[in-house]
Amino acid sequence: MRPGNISPQLARLDNTLPLYLISAGSQPVTRVDFIFSAGSWHQSKPLMASSTSAMLSEGTENLTGEEIARKADYYGAYINTSSDRDNAFVTIYSLSRYLDEVMPLAADIIKNPSFPERELETMLERRKQRFLIEKTRVSSLAREQFAASVFGKEHPYGRTLSPEDFDNVCPSGLAGFHRDHYRADNCKILVSGSYDQDKVLSTLDHLFGSGDWVSGGTPGTANQSENPHGLKKVLIYRDDAVQSALRIGRRMFPKNSIDYPGMMVVNSILGGHFGSRLMQNIREKRGYTYGIGSVLAGLKYDGFMAIVSEVGAEHREAAVTEIYRELEKLCNKPVSEKELDLTKRHMLGEILRSFDGPFAWLESIRNVAEAGMDHSFYDNLIDTVTEITPQQVHDLAKKYLMPAEMVEVVAGK
């Protein structure tokens, strides 16, 4: 079980902007993704990266936000903007036959956003509403505190927002952030689907291949502080909670770390799927929770692993005890050949699935491209999954999953 050729075709626009082209699928549709190194890691003030991204489609020098939305809707296209810690994305879904109509809209919002003041104000009020609603969820409280505890409150991956931050975003700051980061030399384009390749290449070259949006300077880098650790054990008490949200985990490493693929195997055994140890113990054996899992998050500059669950408040202590017991078990005893073999089969199936269909394939390439890597990551991952031994799993567990190293956050009671 190994996916066929997963490597996209590489091309460059006239201004050297890199393109990753995938031909796949039987539906006449195309997805195009733009990746900019313009996530919150790169911002100097709160909300700059996410607000810049959210404002792209709210108005340009040529079109109002309403006109942009109406045109995209008319062609049945989706033009979505988003951002995370490392990057900002513009994602377009279009019927292939309308790419010539839809891509100029994408070019306009990427290159000429005007950050209109009224729309900015509305957008910030809406986001503040969402933020304050989020703050009432125990899962959100735990997630936020966990990041702060793992990376430290001053670290770009650990910073938390306050409601006042939404009142202090100005259009000129966003325009500046856009000018510095939404540049051809800070961008990658991914195209996937069933489309006419020559035509798409010439459309993209025409819209994005010129020298007029290549930067002169270098984008500002984050003021990364070396104050890594916050509190290791935190209880955010909520008297009315009927469930407590748990996050137990630790700081790890960036996605390009040598131990990343092996730790994916370890993580899968621990809590990566329905048959994993945590799920079988905490849910299927004891019924403490609807779901529990562990995630290994490899970011561009750092990373973490976290065991995540919401458990009945009365089961909180017992659940935490069992989680540590599972960690100890992994550290004390090598996994059996049989269990490891099951995990390997599951993971290989998962990898195959992640390249099935044009959109999934693009996403898999994007997941590595955003950390500065390419498809060879998957070749390496498949080799690791196929070859890893119980002893190697044990060594990795001992190296990274000692219970004493864990940060533990509970929101609830």
Binding site: Y74, G287, G349
Partner: protein, 418 residues
Amino acid sequence: MIEFKRRILDNGLTVIAHKDESTPMAAVNVLYDVGSRDDRPGKTGAAHLLEHLMFGGSLNIASYDREVQKAGGENNAFTSNDITNYYISLPSVNIETGMWLESDRMIGLNFSEKGLDVQKKVVAEEFRQRYLNQPYGDTWMLLRPLAYKVHPYRWPVIGSDVAHISNITLDEIREYYSEHYCPSNAILSVSSALEEDYCLDLAEKWFGTVKKRKTKIRSTPAEPQQDKMRKLDVTRDVPYDQIMIAYHMCERDSRRYYATDLISDLLAGGKSARLYRSLVMEKKIFGSINAFITGDRDPGLFVVKGTVSEGIEAERAYDEITGEINDFISRPPKNEELEKVKNKVEATRQYIQTSILYKATDLAYYELISDAGFLNEEIAQYRKTTQEEITSIAASLFRQENSSVLFYRSNHKSKPRK
């Protein structure tokens, strides 16, 4: 165009096979024509609880999950008002494993007190996680019994009370299974790069031995026509007021379904839609607003739901929605606006069909509601919807006496009033 072949086995099981050469994976989907509508009052949540027990092992298979994992598969299930649907996606070389797993749990389950007990606890935690421990989590628990007085759609799929779920006995759940999980009450659909006839033969091989059983005949009480507006006011510990308005709409296989669906898109399908432009971006009455249909097989609900902006009275926000709706009836969409939402429906269908799993699930569902081939004709139904239909259906849908309104108010005292 989604092509497929169909075979009905001697035991009554309907099998649909679709070929997609572009994929190394196979999707195996089994739909049972049973949902929360088949629960009994006082014992609501049974259909969903049974879905959980379907993963606890069957006649010849001790651990369903382990076998799926061995085959490199991924599986899940959902229960709705109308159906319970199970699916596996796995490398197509292992398609027979999928059929073995699904046929074995159609023959019989490993029921045990212990398994039932654990899954009751798991479902109780699901109930807490989704409905009790979430801001606005209980809105559907409140809206359903407001809109439905007789029809079983009046309770949520998970059950209306944790006590109902914990009171269900092993015998009752066993009976539920034997009454509803019969081959003649199920539809199997398969998508993969394998030849359709080959897949149908495989289905015959694995499911042909499942014994024919008699399905319980369903008799669902019809919801009487609503003749007066209903209103419910609650106050909760949430930061903003929320408003939900539910209007009774047509059944799934009605011709009026398409116009009703398009109305929800015209009002709230994306950033160019009317409610969003007017009430979010221009007047700032709502931080977010949505309109959608439940699309159930029996007459469902058309729902408008909005989270009110800080400083706006809920009553005013409600008036603004009804104002926009009246405006919609008096100022119906012009050609371009209607064309826009039709294009979007058609394109979205194409995006979804890039996934073989969705194709398999859709084929089974359309086979249930009319005919799997209808999946290919539905766009034409949307296309031929006229402005006149939209206006006349909107006028009958949005009558005040056809509405149930939930005012879900914030208790946050510090909220400034403008």
